[in-house]
């Protein structure tokens, strides 16, 4: 990837860089002072306590009638213990075990609270010149250490409940799968500060070793001393919920793309799933109108489930923001639970612009990416915030794609993307031959590839329009294949492998000889592009 925004590696190591970074960080008073620190005091409650409260809730719900009878006999109704089923409360009463049971409960409570307290006491972290370290566990101690020169990025997220307590989670991403160091939870302000400090220290270490610093977090002093004390907790919490997602000194204030709430809601509702839901609804109403009232018992839960799905999808994408910063592209999401990712340059392995059929009348598009460092489970579970733009105009999509590719020239790119999407014949694509219509009767006119100086672009789909943009320097392998039917028609199909993610780069039909050419060109171009790539420290050590 280009090094726009990434400082080039220095000519020689700068041994004093890590010292400078260190003193810069230390001067500002920070958690990153090399001492062991504990996490936010509410941590055990936020991590495990929720389950405990839930269990308590279930117990209470099950004993509801008994509790009502015990404490509010006037509301107890005509419920009476019928003696047939085993009832633990009656059993203890009738055998005189009340004292023992109370004692047991007390011991259990002490053990649980003590366990929570101990686990909090024993869970500590420190940030030294060389590494971020976390020690945890009561009986089985674990000690995880992430070397600073391997830090790929630092993420800050605030799930809803911790957010109420003013806590946030800090993820230090290290090269290698599931090797992240998690600091959950920290107070929000120190966490935001620690995030910058870790980036600054990591850059210092990199500079001292003669490598490129983590972009934008150089020792020149990103750390601003402007963070005030948390004096007015309530006001602070309110500000946290109301303030822009990106702390003002870490990102340009405005997002390059805004999603109007109306569009977000409409785009969530207008999709293929809704057609299905509407069909169910119509079917259900017809059934009820014909006297089959039992349908209501299956219909209502279904609708509730679907409604909550829509709700969670919408709230997740509300208050979306995306902006380029020196340390990478920052993407903020979420109304109640917020997440804030920074994608450093060189971690984007594939970008896809797509449009479902039902979005076409509105001119809406979606952008997804494949990024390095995403585990297979996260990719399968749809986690990892790979949908970079949930919905937007083609112009928004172009702007986001430009940002993903480290550029800023939206206008001329828009022309290219618009041509590729709307005028398939005149956009420099190598198209499928006419005989491909026997295999692919609709999409063959749009199916094609374009090899650009540093990019390979696949265009597919007529109902579900899709443009897949692959940085050549990130391609893992190129594959062409031919089955018996394709052989009869002198066709072939091609596919490019990237790291795992939601975007798959497949070209379903292409003329046989064009496929052979694509194979040669793309494999050669991939080798050349990666040999000229400057951000290899970011990319080659991802996994």
């Amino acid at each position: 990837m280009s090094d726009a925004g990434t400082p080039p590696p220095p000519e020689r190591p700068i041994p004093e860089a890590s010292e400078i970074a260190r003193s810069t960080v230390l001067a500002s008073g920070t958690l990153a002072d090399g001492e062991w620190h504990r996490l936010h005091p509410a941590t055990p409650l936020l991590r495990g306590g929720i389950a405990f409260i839930a269990i308590l809730g279930i117990v209470i719900a099950n004993l509801r009638e008994r509790l009502v009878e015990m404490f509010l006999p006037q509301f107890a109704g005509d419920y009476r213990y019928d003696g047939e089923n085993f009832d633990p409360l009656d059993y203890t009463f009738s055998h005189g075990y009340v004292g023992w049971v109370l004692l047991g409960l007390a011991v259990l409570l002490v053990v649980v609270i003590g366990g929570f307290f101990l686990s909090w006491r024993m869970h500590s972290f420190r940030v030294t010149d060389e590494a971020v370290e976390v020690r945890s566990g009561i009986l089985f101690r674990t000690h995880r250490k992430a070397k600073l020169d391997r830090v790929q990025g630092v993420g800050l997220s605030k799930p809803f409940l911790p957010r109420l307590f003013g806590a946030a989670r800090l993820d230090v991403n290290v090269a290698g799968q599931s090797a992240d160091v998690k600091l959950e939870y920290l107070s929000t302000r120190p966490a935001e500060k620690l995030r910058r400090d870790v980036l600054t220290l990591a850059s210092g270490v990199r500079l001292a070793e003669g490598e490129a610093p983590l972009p934008g977090a150089g020792p020149a002093g990103v750390v601003s001393p402007g963070d005030g004390l948390i004096t007015r907790h309530v006001v602070d919490r309110a500000n946290d919920f109301l303030s822009p997602e990106l702390p003002e000194d870490q990102a340009p204030p405005e997002s390059i793309v805004r999603i109007p709430v109306g569009r977000l809601v409409a785009s969530t509702v207008v999709n293929e799933g809704t057609v299905f839901v509407t069909a169910i609804l119509v079917f259900g109403i017809v059934m009820i109108a014909n006297g089959n009232t039992w349908v209501i018992f299956t219909l209502v839960p279904t609708l509730l489930g679907i409604g909550s799905y829509y709700w969670s999808t919408i709230t997740k994408s509300l208050r979306y923001s995306i902006a380029g910063t020196p340390s990478g592209v920052r993407i903020g999401f979420g109304l109640l639970s917020t997440s804030n990712d920074t994608l450093p340059p060189g971690r984007v392995h594939a970008v896809q612009i797509s449009q479902p059929l039902l979005w076409r009348p509105f001119g809406w598009w979606q952008v997804k990416i494949n990024k390095a460092g995403l585990s297979a489970e996260a990719a399968a579970g749809g986690k990892g915030n790979t949908t970079i733009l949930p919905v937007g105009t083609l112009r928004d999509a172009t702007a986001v794609v430009q940002l993903m590719l480290d550029g800023a020239d939206v206008d001329s790119t828009y022309e290219q993307v618009e041509a590729a999407m709307m005028r398939p014949g005149e956009s420099g694509f190598v198209l499928a031959p006419k005989r491909a219509r026997l295999i692919d009767p609709l999409a063959w006119r749009r199916t094609g590839y374009a090899l650009r100086p540093t990019l390979l672009v696949f265009r597919t789909g007529v109902l579900w329009r899709k443009l897949v943009i692959l940085p050549l320097a990130r391609i893992q392998s190129v594959q062409i294949s031919q089955g018996p039917l394709e052989r009869m028609l002198r066709l072939s199909s091609a596919r490019v492998h990237t790291v795992i993610g939601p975007v798959s780069a497949v070209l379903p039909t292409i003329a046989k000889d064009e496929a052979a050419l694509l194979f040669d060109r793309a494999s050669l171009a991939a080798v050349r592009a990666s040999s000229q790539d400057h951000s290899h420290r970011w990319a080659s050590e991802e996994r």
Binding site: L451, G483, V499, D513, F519, A525, S531, S540
Partner: protein
């Protein structure tokens, strides 16, 4: 090596076609006359990704249509013919096990369906076994200047190119049968779970030599990344 290519008729026009002038050993751009190598960033062409997307491009000259199957020319190295024997012996052992189980179950329950099921499995194995020699002979690999090419399949053909610099690790696996025949399987793993290459049926020395070669070229390509 070329003599081991399956007996498919080669396209007669092939040596003359300019698009096929790409010989496997040198990374010369394909089709130097008919289609200039598009990656050379000539004057005015930007190297940045974003700039690359913003610049209008012309579609390249269409490829010359040739008859015949999909083919990538080059000195393909084939896997050892002993791999065929291994595969067949493995099938035979499997067949014996299936027959034994079927007979035992038949004796126990005195009903003909185990024999029918076992017979069906054996028949299917025999039919697939008939294609084993062709299938193994279709497997090949080619070491180019900067990438490893792999091919397999007759009915469903597949060609994969992986740049050496993409290598994450190389494995050599040997099952008991393969060990008895002095063969090994080489696995080339990249960051993409789908993009890996597995070359079965390599003589052990060749597999180890290939592994060492791949590791060393991957190392040199990586520094140049």
């Amino acid at each position: 090596m070329e003599s081991q290519v399956p007996a498919e008729p080669r396209a007669p026009a092939e040596p003359h076609s300019s698009v096929r002038s790409h010989d496997g050993a040198t990374p010369v751009g394909p089709g130097t006359e008919s289609a200039p190598a598009p990656v050379e960033s000539g004057p005015g062409l930007p190297d940045t990704l974003a700039g690359s997307l913003a610049t209008p491009i012309e579609a390249p000259e269409p490829a010359v249509e040739t008859p015949g199957r999909l083919e990538i020319a080059g000195e393909w190295r084939r896997v050892s013919p002993r791999a065929i024997t291994i595969e067949l012996v493995g099938d035979a052992i499997g067949t014996v096990v299936v027959v034994a189980i079927a007979v035992v179950v038949w004796l126990l329950i005195d009903h003909p369906w185990p024999l029918i099921a076992g017979g069906a499995i054996v028949l299917a194995t025999v039919i697939t076994a008939a294609f084993v020699p062709r299938r193994i002979r279709s497997i090949g690999y080619l070491l180019r200047e900067d990438d490893l090419l792999f091919r397999r399949g007759i009915m469903w053909q597949r060609f994969v190119a992986v740049p050496y610099g993409r290598m994450q690790l190389v494995d050599i696996n040997r099952g008991p049968l393969a060990r008895a025949f002095g063969l090994a399987e080489l696995k080339f793993v990249t960051a993409s779970p789908a993009a890996g290459i597995t070359i079965p049926g390599l003589p052990l020395e060749e597999a180890e030599g290939l592994r060492d070669h791949l590791v060393s070229v991957a190392e040199s390509r990586r520094t140049g990344l």
